[in-house]
């Protein structure tokens, strides 16, 4: 799959501190790419650099197979929509008038305004001043503005920030429908793992300005297979029994962790333990959460 965004050794320095350090992003075309990281990790800075709103200290950014520089930036961004941090709008103008400004700048027909208003379900509120919109409606207006002209790439920075659960679900549904409905590649950032888990197909995790993981989301889920945790009165003897049967185990916090077994196999080992006078006091099935996996992958690098 071809990449729509590629960054190589991207750095941004603020004084002595590195806001973003040697970032090598690869965003494949036609997917929702979740850009995950705690607050202050460098997500917004990275997105701003891709959009040319901040100047990289070092490194290159390639969008649509072209290296972005000061001269070609706007030509490349013609096929890009964005929503960075809070939605941008003129509070004294109506929703439709706000979109009119963007569509005029992008030289689009008025029919395009009606199309995006319908898509974000704001057509009934289009003549209301944007300042009177709820936060959810403002976010949808921002999304509508980003979608004007049906861009190939959409860059959304924390689009659900500050929304109530219903608003989050609404925005999430809209974002999830974009690749299928319009063939748009979406790069969406969040500090909430659960949110990215529900939206993205690919994921990049940034911590303290550094990319600590990047792959398909399924690659993470593959690591979250179930394991059986057994606690006995004599874990050393129990470990010997398991080893003699060729079962790999790991000792952790007083438990022996073994791969998931079927019920008959597990019952067999349980009987063996009893025959060896090993008292079994706990048997639990454990499934690692994505957060556990992140901590495993990054050590303490990611605290979400």
């Amino acid at each position: 799959m071809a990449n729509i965004i590629t960054t190589s050794g991207l750095c941004k320095q603020y004084g002595a501190a590195m806001g973003v350090k040697d970032l090598d992003l690869s965003v494949p075309e036609g997917v929702i790419y979740g850009f995950l990281g705690p607050n202050g990790a460098g997500k917004s800075t990275t997105m701003k650099m891709i959009l040319g709103l901040a100047k990289p200290t070092r490194g290159t950014i390639i969008v649509f197979d072209k290296e972005v520089n000061r001269r070609n930036r706007l030509a490349i961004l013609k096929e890009t929509g964005s929503l960075i941090e809070a939605p941008s709008f003129y509070a004294h103008l109506t929703g439709k008038e706000n979109l009119k400004i963007i569509s005029t700048l992008k030289e689009l027909p008025d029919s395009e305004i009606d199309r995006v208003l319908k898509f974000v379900r704001l057509e009934d509120q289009k003549n209301k001043k944007a300042g009177q919109y709820s936060l959810g409606m403002k976010q949808r207006l921002g999304l509508a503005g980003a979608l004007l002209g049906n861009p190939r790439l959409l860059i959304l920075d924390e689009p659900t920030n500050g929304l109530d659960p219903a608003g989050i679900q609404e925005i999430r549904e809209l974002i999830c429908s974009l690749p299928k409905s319009f063939g748009i590649t979406v790069m969406v950032s969040s500090h909430l793992l659960s949110e990215i888990d529900q939206m993205a197909g690919h994921i990049g995790v940034i911590s303290r300005g550094e990319l600590v993981f990047q792959d398909r989301l399924s690659a993470l889920h593959d690591r979250s297979e179930s394991r059986i945790a057994i606690r006995t009165l004599d874990n050393i003897a129990a470990g010997s029994v398991l080893s003699s049967q060729g079962i790999a185990y790991q000792e952790q916090e007083g438990y022996l962790l073994i791969p998931k077994l079927n019920d008959n196999q597990l019952a067999g080992y349980f009987i063996r333990f009893l025959k060896e006078d090993i008292g079994v006091v706990r048997i639990e099935e454990r499934k690692k959460t994505l957060e556990d996996i992140f901590l495993e992958l990054t050590g303490m690098a990611v605290k979400l």
Partner: protein
């Protein structure tokens, strides 16, 4: 043109002209106060009196009008956090230019309204001085030019600082600096941007200390000061534009 048209579109319902009109009316009423008791001698120098008094009043009022206009035109972008979006679809320099031209249109309108008011006042008050179209045109050009240069510095600060108090303080400080500089030597006046209404005014007052009579007379255009002002404008405009374009969002 598209950018300029959009700037006017953005100002819908902002009623920017209301505050400009109020300040203009205040200035005209203030100017009329100086003509409440006109004798034959004052009537014979009516237009000169007008051009002199309005130039002095411009030193006080026009920087405030420029500061408020620039602030109104720029503040809506700060409030709406729209730079992050706008600058992905248009160059920062083009946005700066469009805002400047849009705000300058209001300054031109104020200058024209002032000049028209002087002409009407001349007819109504019955000035006996011969109507001086050349000097009125010169006054109009100078008023607009100086105001537009002040507008450039106001706009730069209004765009660079989210807090519009910075811009207002500069406007008010400049206004007072310009007024007090009228009592200072000409070379010092030429170093203060806000004093150019006085430096370039087409009329001079002659004070005869023996007869204790003040007399007004037209003076030739001070081209050296005019070109110095143009140099200041170029410096202010392009520095402001560059700073705005280089600022990260």
């Amino acid at each position: 043109m598209k950018g300029i048209r959009l700037e006017f579109y953005k100002l819908r319902r902002r009623k920017i002209w209301v505050i400009i009109l109020v300040l203009l009316v205040v200035q005209c009423l203030w100017g009329m106060w100086a003509f409440r008791n006109m004798d034959a001698k004052k009537l014979s120098q009516g237009y000169m009196q007008c051009l002199y008094h309005f130039s002095v009043l411009n030193t006080i009022m026009m920087p405030m009008i420029a500061a408020i206009t620039a602030s109104k035109v720029c503040d809506l972008e700060h409030k709406g956090q729209t730079f992050k979006f706008l600058l992905t679809v248009m160059p920062a320099g083009a946005l700066f230019d469009a805002k400047f031209i849009c705000a300058s249109m209001y300054m031109v309108a104020v200058g024209v309204a002032q000049t028209a008011f002087i002409m009407v006042l001349g007819k109504v008050a019955g000035f006996t001085e011969t109507f001086p179209p050349g000097y009125l045109l010169y006054y109009l050009i100078i008023t607009i030019t100086v105001t537009v240069v002040i507008l450039a510095i106001q706009q730069a600060f209004s765009l660079l600082f989210t807090n519009q108090m910075v811009s207002f303080v500069i406007g008010i400080t400049g206004s007072f600096a310009g007024l007090f500089s009228l009592f200072l030597p000409r070379n010092i006046q030429r170093g203060i941007l806000w004093s150019y209404y006085g430096v370039l005014m087409p009329v001079r007052m002659n004070w005869d200390s023996q007869t204790r009579i003040a007399d007004l007379q037209y003076i030739p255009v001070d081209w050296s000061s005019f070109w110095l002002l143009m140099g200041l404008f170029a410096m202010i405009y392009f520095t402001g534009r560059r700073c705005f374009a280089r600022k990260e969002r």
